[in-house]
Symmetry: C2
């Protein structure tokens, strides 16, 4: 297999499934680190802070670098700080998004006609959604961390941020800017902050529609692993195939 | 103007705007009642009980009959009692829907794999939406009182039941059965319960896409009034025009 300078690895379905690590991926990460290559971890989950992600990875035997964690919340905060400097920003979301906005110097307000950003919020209320709809109708730019329709937990498939974003889109008739995969914004942030060339980067994940499509949309190589949402068979039937497909990442060592 | 036996009149935008009556409609209703014709009031609003609607109408000088109030909640309850007799039904909604289900002998449960029905709920929580998504993924028939994307209040356009329905539809990938206008279910309930022929019925309203389309979809005459959402100009540009258009209903006396 071709080697890269920058490995961008999805989390859920690639590094772990819920509370269980995928051991072949853990071995692959250790192998990269032994070669002096610190992988990046790229997740659409906007509810967790980088420190919460580090702590979860540590529990699976992976000691990652904080600067190499990229959540859709961090990418959204960086995107807002870059494209809307000095603007008032209202938000729906949990600590991951709130802390990321503060860390990037964004001025958070309860209602704004300038920018509104949405992440998953399991303390959602009618009032929060109503205020967001009013803000967007009055002209606030509508940004959403990711378009994930559902995510698994022990009860089944729970509604994801994409579904709540669809509610606001349906009510206001206004399309959001999505930051997470399958868009390439998170990969672009990594490229800019760490100065890689696109040919040195690879996106690795289990989900064709988010992980692989993010790599394809951004224009870098992609590796599909058969450890989660999309089967290898399905991935190979797509009109644009991943650069490589493997049962697990242990085959890439 | 042709006269009818059964006048079905929309509420918001036709009988009143928010807290203000539309006096020409009040006069028209009095005129009908003087002729011994009790009009029906047909609303997509699923949050209010018939008694709450009666009380609001009374405040505007209209003494309507309880049996002539048709809300999308009542229609949904009757639809479920008719099509899913004896089934367990889980719900999201306010008192209007809850009471209508009980009144129609529906067995309300907290989680059901048989039937789920959704109406506007301004006490919505993540947990309620998550349980609905799980129920629907496990096979519960997905019924929604109406597809209204937004409704006006003093703050602006607030998210309506259609937007919350879109959230569940987006997350589960499953299409709901909508009961309210522009579907014809409420008019069909009136026809069945009160034994009218379609040629004796007319649907009157301000909103082409809901009121007039409900009449057209059900196959009865329609009257558009220029007192709310759709202007007469817009209504006349549609490929299927209303049977009649008037500035206000006082012209129909």
């Amino acid at each position: 297999m071709k080697t890269y300078k920058c490995y961008c690895i999805d989390l859920d379905g690639t590094v772990y499934r819920g509370k269980e690590p995928i051991n072949e991926t853990v071995q692959f990460v250790h192998h990269l680190q032994q070669q002096g290559k610190e992988p990046f971890f790229v997740t659409n989950n906007a509810s967790q802070t980088p420190d919460q992600v580090l702590s979860k990875l540590s529990g699976f035997g992976i000691e990652a670098k904080r600067s190499h964690i990229m959540t859709s919340a961090m990418a959204a905060a960086k995107y807002i700080a870059y494209h809307y400097p000095g603007k008032d920003v209202s938000m729906i979301g949990e600590r991951g998004l709130h802390d990321a906005l503060l860390e990037n110097g964004v001025n958070i307000v309860s209602s704004s006609k300038e920018v509104f950003v949405m992440g998953i919020d399991r303390e959602i209320t009618y009032e929060k959604l109503a205020q967001a709809c009013l803000d967007i109708r009055q002209g606030a730019t509508f940004i959403s961390t990711n378009s994930d329709r559902a995510f698994p937990n022990e009860r089944g498939l729970m509604p994801g941020n994409g579904a709540f974003t669809a509610l606001i889109q349906n009510s206001t008739g206004i399309e959001p800017i999505f930051i997470g995969k399958p868009q390439g914004h998170m990969l672009e942030m990594i490229r800019l902050e760490h100065q890689y060339e696109k040919e040195d980067m690879v996106m690795i994940g289990d989900n064709y529609d988010t992980d692989i499509m993010a790599g394809i949309n951004f224009g870098i190589d992609t590796i599909h692993v058969n450890t989660g949402v999309t089967s290898t068979e399905e991935a190979l039937l797509k009109s644009v195939r991943p650069t490589g497909t493997f049962e697990t990442l242990v085959e890439c060592i």
